[in-house]
């Protein structure tokens, strides 16, 4: 029997608002433990939550980007369970009236486009963090993260392979980064992906028994966990066993999933409407206001880059892979650089410097102005392409502009024909035997002369002029 896998994703995204979801504490939870806290996020007696508007704005933006409908009327609910990282022993979340519903995200796998339907995206608050390495038989709780805004995005079980999951997560992450709503750092937990995995006979419409894989710290981990889990389920079924509905963890060292909690011991969360918060009414006007502030999304931008700048699909994809990169590229072009030259310089030369220096485009001192200037200097034959690459490295090191560096280091290209002719003649005079050999047919020696001339001029001579004059002089 041939099986296919059926996968749905639940993705928790930490939304990067200034303050927490229900109080005015900073969301900078990496600060020293329990410094970003107040009575509200500590769940002290008598406190009340107040919903952060920026959180709602950003959630609406995500909803719109995922083609969801935004509920005109939604509400918050309490999800009840006891755990020391949960200050109130209930989490404020959304149950039956989520803010965003019924959307989709388009992915492309092996040249085929596919829509992954989004069931819902809802608002909730993050928990605190427990630490168990304090010694003395005690665990500690750091409440800095308590109440940080979270958006939970839930898909339909539309994904059919780990590869589709990988592409989906990559597209989603790119979208969230473009919207500027999250740091999307999986290692730090600002993006958390859980997979609901089941298998069924290929061609069947029925859903098999699913398992839920939690606590995976990277995209590649999610892919491996799903691959393992699909195999495990198929083998279980083929050997006559049954898949049990349960929550499974992922052990990245052993490369296996393992049982964590059975359905029978699943929580009854006793959801009910949060009486401390009034319902959330979102007007069409509000949604429009958010729409106005949304940037162009990656899929649209990719297409536009191809059409407007004549870039290949590959170049357009690379340059739109992050909003920072795409903005950087467009700025360079707006400063007058040739679009194809700019694409080349940013993808190849700039990347090379950044890789070498172990830097990123965000923290690099090289600006689009610098790149545009370098391209112009090469075009105007002030410097050669080779020198330009050196200058780029120096821009990184010094933070000075290319023009400054060229001036300071006297790197301006020699284009004076008579000056170059003088040097060419001197080099030929110094090497009479090579000149003789060249003239008797040893063409390869032309390169030798170019090298000598470049050495004399420290590479500053215009290569084209050197070529022309050298030919002239040797053939005299």
């Amino acid at each position: 029997m041939e099986y296919e896998s059926v996968i749905g994703m639940e993705v928790h995204v930490e939304i990067n608002t200034q303050s927490k979801a229900f109080c005015s504490c900073s969301t900078n939870f990496h600060a020293p433990p329990n410094t970003q806290v107040c009575p509200v996020c500590l769940g002290m007696p008598g406190v009340l939550p107040v919903l952060n508007k920026e959180f709602v704005n950003k959630a609406i933006a995500v909803g719109l980007a995922l083609n969801c409908s935004i509920a005109k009327w939604s509400k918050m609910d309490r999800k009840n369970y006891f755990y020391p990282d949960l200050a109130k022993n209930y989490q404020i979340s959304q149950y039956d009236l989520p803010l965003c519903q019924n959307g989709y995200l388009e992915i492309e796998v092996k040249g085929e486009k596919k829509r992954i339907r989004i069931l819902r995206a809802h608002l909730e608050e993050d928990t605190a963090r427990n630490t168990h390495d304090l010694g003395g038989g005690y665990s500690g709780v750091d409440f800095n993260r308590s109440g940080v805004p979270l958006l939970e995005i839930v898909t339909y079980p539309d994904l059919r392979s780990s590869e589709e999951v990988f592409v989906f997560l990559t597209e989603l992450k790119q979208l969230l980064e473009y919207l500027g709503v999250s740091d999307c750092n999986m290692e730090e937990g600002s993006l958390r992906a859980e997979a609901n995995v089941s298998v069924r006979e290929k061609g069947s419409d029925a859903l098999g028994v699913k398992t839920e894989i939690k606590n995976v710290a990277s995209f590649s981990g999610v892919v491996k966990a799903i691959e393992y889990e699909v195999d495990r389920q198929i083998q279980t079924l083929q050997s006559g066993g049954k898949v049990i509905q349960e929550t499974r963890g992922w052990d990245p060292d052993r490369g296996v999933t393992f049982s964590q909690r059975h359905k029978e011991s699943a929580h009854d969360y006793r959801y009910f409407p949060e009486p401390d918060l009034v319902p959330l009414a979102v007007s069409d006007k509000w949604v429009e206001q958010v729409r106005q502030t949304m940037p162009e999304l990656p899929q649209t931008r990719r297409k536009r880059f191809q059409e407007e700048y004549g870039l290949s699909l590959y170049d357009a994809s690379v340059l739109t892979s992050t909003k920072v990169m795409a903005d950087y590229y467009e700025k360079t072009v707006q400063l007058g650089a040739d679009p194809k030259q700019a694409a080349n310089w940013i993808q190849v030369e700039l990347q090379a410097v950044l890789t070498y220096e172990n830097a990123t485009i965000e923290n690099s001192p090289i600006t689009p102005e610098h790149i545009a200037q370098l391209i112009a200097l090469v075009k105007d034959e002030v410097i050669s392409g080779k020198i330009a690459k050196e200058v780029l490295r120096k821009v990184f090191k010094t933070g000075k502009s290319p023009e400054e560096i060229i001036k300071e280091e006297g790197l301006v290209q020699i284009t004076d024909i008579e000056a170059i002719r003088k040097i060419v003649r001197e080099v030929i005079e110094k090497n009479p035997s090579q000149a003789e050999q060249y003239r008797s047919g040893k063409d390869k020696l032309f390169g030798f002369f170019v090298g000598q001339i470049m050495r004399e001029t420290q590479g500053k001579a215009n290569p084209k002029i050197v070529n022309d004059i050298l030919k002239e002089e040797l053939n005299k």
Partner: protein, 416 residues
């Protein structure tokens, strides 16, 4: 102005224990919004006062701190849950006390102790800093010896609070000014008497005192009409589903992890939770947490919680209809005067029924005030309840004031 504050309202000064062992010695790091407003108006806090644990009870007998007696008869309970507030005002220890009212917890003790107790419209007063019992029902309000003192207090503590999104942004009148202006003589006051409140179950002595009060108002030109609140009989059941459901979540934070009492002799975290909460909460609180957890449980939610929300809506509609025929509804605050210690502690349901006339008001989110209307033969005070329209405390207080100024006689104060 010397004031006392119920132990369920957060003050940096003194303790905020909610009369519970689980918060023994707890000091709040902040002042409730109402407390800040009162301090800004130069109020002086003379003490935090006793109550039923977490405001759950009708006699203040559910306190883990101390016993509070009724100043009119020391063998009797002061009512509850704001029993300390009512007793402190009645005994003349302070001019105003802040209480909280979830199902009658201001009005019933005010009635038992012969003072005025005002429960404002839900949303009129900020709940920030009121330790939540049932969030959709709780309201802070004043207890005082007369209506003017309560009216002044409401003008100070009322209004929209950015820290409480359920507080409502409506103009807050100067109630003292409005009451003194009196009621426009040209517009007759229409008073509604709900037939469901005047059944055979009502204590005869109380019924007579209420009818005397109605006559006094009629003398002042009030028109009396009969109204009907047909869903009254479901109020107690509805209330005990909604308030316990909310309480089960609100009280979940008392777990021994961050503050308050922690059972130190436990094997692991679950054991710590169990022992802390078993030892820290009293019987009535545990009863309500269990009931609330049950009604929210999977498979029971629709039958209990959801049904109760629907009945709550019907009860609210009862009042909306009744208010088409009248401006203010009048009836007893409590079916009995103050009872004796231990009289009802063995039977929770009987204790719950002592709030039968006050509970509907919270379910419908209306404002109401209890005003003394006489003494029983035994010398115990009886309270008259006025129920107003949403956010119309102005009219409610004016009618109550008209009565206060024209009642047969003032019951005066207990001789201690």
């Amino acid at each position: 102005m010397p004031i006392s504050i119920k132990e369920v309202i957060c003050t940096k000064e003194g303790f905020t224990t909610c009369a519970s062992k689980i918060l023994a010695g707890y000091r709040s790091p902040y002042d409730a919004t109402v407390v800040r407003k009162l301090f800004d108006a130069d109020a002086i806090l003379i003490g935090k006062v006793n109550m039923d644990e977490f405001a759950m009870g009708s006699s203040t007998e559910n306190s883990s701190i101390k016993l509070t007696r009724n100043p009119w008869n020391l063998e009797c309970v002061p009512g509850g849950s704001s029993g300390g507030s009512a007793a402190s005002v009645s005994a003349g220890e302070c001019v105003i006390s802040l209480g909280s009212d979830t199902g009658g917890s201001i009005r019933q003790p005010a009635s038992f102790c012969g003072c005025v107790g005002l429960k404002p419209t839900y949303g009129r007063v900020s709940r920030y800093g009121l330790v939540a019992f049932a969030s959709s029902l709780d309201q802070i309000g004043p207890l005082s010896r007369n209506i003017l003192d309560s009216a002044v207090t409401l003008s100070v503590i009322g209004g929209k609070d950015p820290k409480d999104t359920t507080s409502v942004d409506l103009p807050l009148p100067d109630y003292l000014e409005k009451i003194k202006q009196g009621i426009d003589d040209n517009v007759p006051i229409r008073i509604g008497l709900p037939k469901e409140y005047f059944t055979e179950d009502l204590n005869k002595e109380i019924k007579d005192l209420i009818m005397k009060a109605v006559q006094a108002l009629e003398k002042q030109g009030a028109e009396v009409v009969e109204v009907s609140l047909p869903h009254t009989e479901f109020a107690v059941a509805t209330y005990y589903i909604i308030c316990t459901a909310e309480a089960s979540a609100n009280l979940a934070r008392f777990d021994g992890v961050r503050y308050g009492f922690r059972h130190t002799d436990s094997r692991n975290i679950i054991d710590m939770y169990k022992r802390t909460r078993s030892d820290g909460f009293g019987a009535e609180v545990k009863r309500r947490i269990l009931l609330g957890t049950y009604v929210l449980s999977s498979g029971y939610y629709d039958a209990y919680y959801l049904k109760a929300q629907k009945v709550r809506r019907l009860i609210t509609q009862d009042f909306e209809k009744a208010f088409q025929k009248c401006d203010v509804i009048i009836g007893p605050t409590s079916p009995t005067p103050a009872f004796r210690f231990g009289e009802k502690t063995q039977n929770p349901l009987e204790m719950y029924l002592s709030d039968i006339y006050t509970i509907s008001v919270n379910l419908a989110a209306l404002p109401a005030i209890s005003v003394p209307c006489g003494l029983t033969q035994e010398g115990l005070p009886v309270g008259l309840q006025f129920i107003g329209k949403h956010f119309d405390e102005e009219h409610l207080l004016s009618v109550a004031y008209l009565y206060e100024q024209n009642r047969e006689k003032d019951i005066g104060f207990p001789l201690l």
